[in-house]
Amino acid sequence: MRRLLAVVAVAAALCSACSSARPPAGTLTVFAAASLKTPFTELAHRFEKAHSATTVTLNFAGSSDLVAQLDQGAPADVFASADTANMTKAVDARLVAGSPVDFATNTLTIVTRPGNPRGIRGFADLAAPGLQLVVCAPQVPCGAATARLEESTGVTLRPVSEESSVTDVLGKVTSGQGDAGLVYVTDAATAGDTVTAVPFPEARGAVNVYPIAVLEKAGDRSSAAAFVELVTGAEGRKVLSDAGFAQP
């Protein structure tokens, strides 16, 4: 019986060890859309330099995943979404303190195999028969933007695959499976010369706006607000524009 109690005690100890998820003081936890990885890593670095007592922890994932995590009680101080729809979800769930601020925009671009072997010149060329086109599924922000472009241009696309994330679209093109894909300008910038970007004017018809907000449960509101100020200020604008983002 004593051994049984010992086993139960060990199990209980293990469970309590994993439930203390609250980060220590002096830590600022930022939940940011996956597409913000490059600029936010840089901005977090700069923030830590200016506020030496604070460590910034970054969590990058799809915006809807992040909202789901926050809704389930994940501890975080700042949330930056890749679209207004997911920020609205967070606001409706009373997760946000104050009102969100728009800090960047992103538009779609065509990416092709390096050197554009299929000679794609614009959006309408993506409907060419036999072209292995990869896009995002309409359920995710980049796919919603793709659907809006199809509607505004009247061009019906026949993709061979509708991926659930923009990085999967890019991966299908860089690996040579797909001939062309529709991704964000910033993804094309990150991919460098593994793809050729073909910008097209109609992309202006579907602009994704990125909002950022301090969260209701933030441990240190002033520190969280300082991070939001950095992102929306001159320094943030410079870093974001280097990564390919435009200003709202």
Partner: protein, 269 residues
């Protein structure tokens, strides 16, 4: 066997403390299943699991899993026989290689398949020359599922072959039966339950395949978007639909696993 005291054996009980971690383990598996059922939006359950996209995903999943199970049996059964009964150098190395997909993350399997059968892959270019394009096709889904499921069939059948031993086969050979006759009339009937449970495991693993499919095959309704991919996608916008589809997948898997063990039990004990 535990109740049989006629032959003088004493029944061996279990130490009492063993039940605590065993119960903890059972709860660890059962509670998440209960949590899913508790989260179901019952009034909308039927419309959610019978929507056009859900039906397409379910049908595609069952079809591709059946095809990959058939492929696993066709290739895996000979592999298990060769590994269990064959005599050649490097057999243990070969076994380790064949079982590698068991420990690989499926996404790694997907990347490996991509660079094998993809358009720029090792074999993909040759396949394209003869007019076969695997990329973004249902064939790619079956290949991904077979790659991750094959070791389950091989392990299961090889284990059955080893525990059955080669005694009866030796007797049959001594009596003048050729290798083909021994395989057909002695070995296969003897390990049939092992083959069936291996096939069930392979089917269940194929049904749940996600990472390799997503990486290698892509995602398009009715072509490559199997039930796990549909669940992953629905989760983005409609958590209720994702939960409902998850229960559907659990139900299908449970029917297959429970159904096949129930039918096999009389023959095993």
């Amino acid at each position: 066997m535990t109740d049989n005291r006629g032959d003088g054996t004493v029944p061996v009980g279990l130490p009492a403390w063993l039940y605590a971690p065993a119960c903890l383990g059972a709860l660890f598996v059962v509670i998440p299943l209960v949590a899913i059922i508790a989260r179901i939006d019952w009034p909308h359950f039927v419309p959610l699991v019978t929507s056009e996209s859900a039906r397409a995903a379910l049908i595609l999943s069952v079809k591709t899993s059946a095809a990959s199970t058939a492929l696993c049996v066709a290739l895996g059964a000979p592999m298990a026989l060769v590994l269990a009964r064959g005599r050649f150098p490097g057999r243990s190395v070969l076994r380790a290689l064949v079982l590698l997909p068991l420990v690989l993350p499926p996404v790694v399997g997907g990347i490996a398949l991509l660079y094998t059968f993809g358009r720029q892959g090792l074999l993909g270019h040759q396949l394209e020359l003869i007019g076969v394009r695997v990329a973004f096709s249902t064939t790619a889904v079956v290949l991904a599922q077979s790659f991750v499921s094959l070791p389950f069939l091989v392990v299961s059948l090889e284990g059955a072959l080893r525990s059955a031993g080669a005694g009866y086969e030796h007797v049959a050979a001594t009596l003048g039966a050729g290798p083909g006759t021994v395989l057909r009339t002695v070995t296969l009937p003897l390990v049939w339950p092992g083959l069936v449970s291996g096939a069930v495991l392979a089917f269940a693993r194929s049904l749940g395949e996600f990472g390799a499919t997503l990486t290698f095959a892509g995602s398009l309704q009715g072509v490559t978007r199997t039930l796990p991919l549909e669940i992953y996608l629905q989760r983005e916008t409609d958590a209720d639909a994702a939960v409902a589809l998850s229960l559907l997948l659990i139900a299908v898997a449970a029917v297959i696993v429970v159904g096949s063990t129930a039918r096999r039990r009389p023959g095993l004990s």
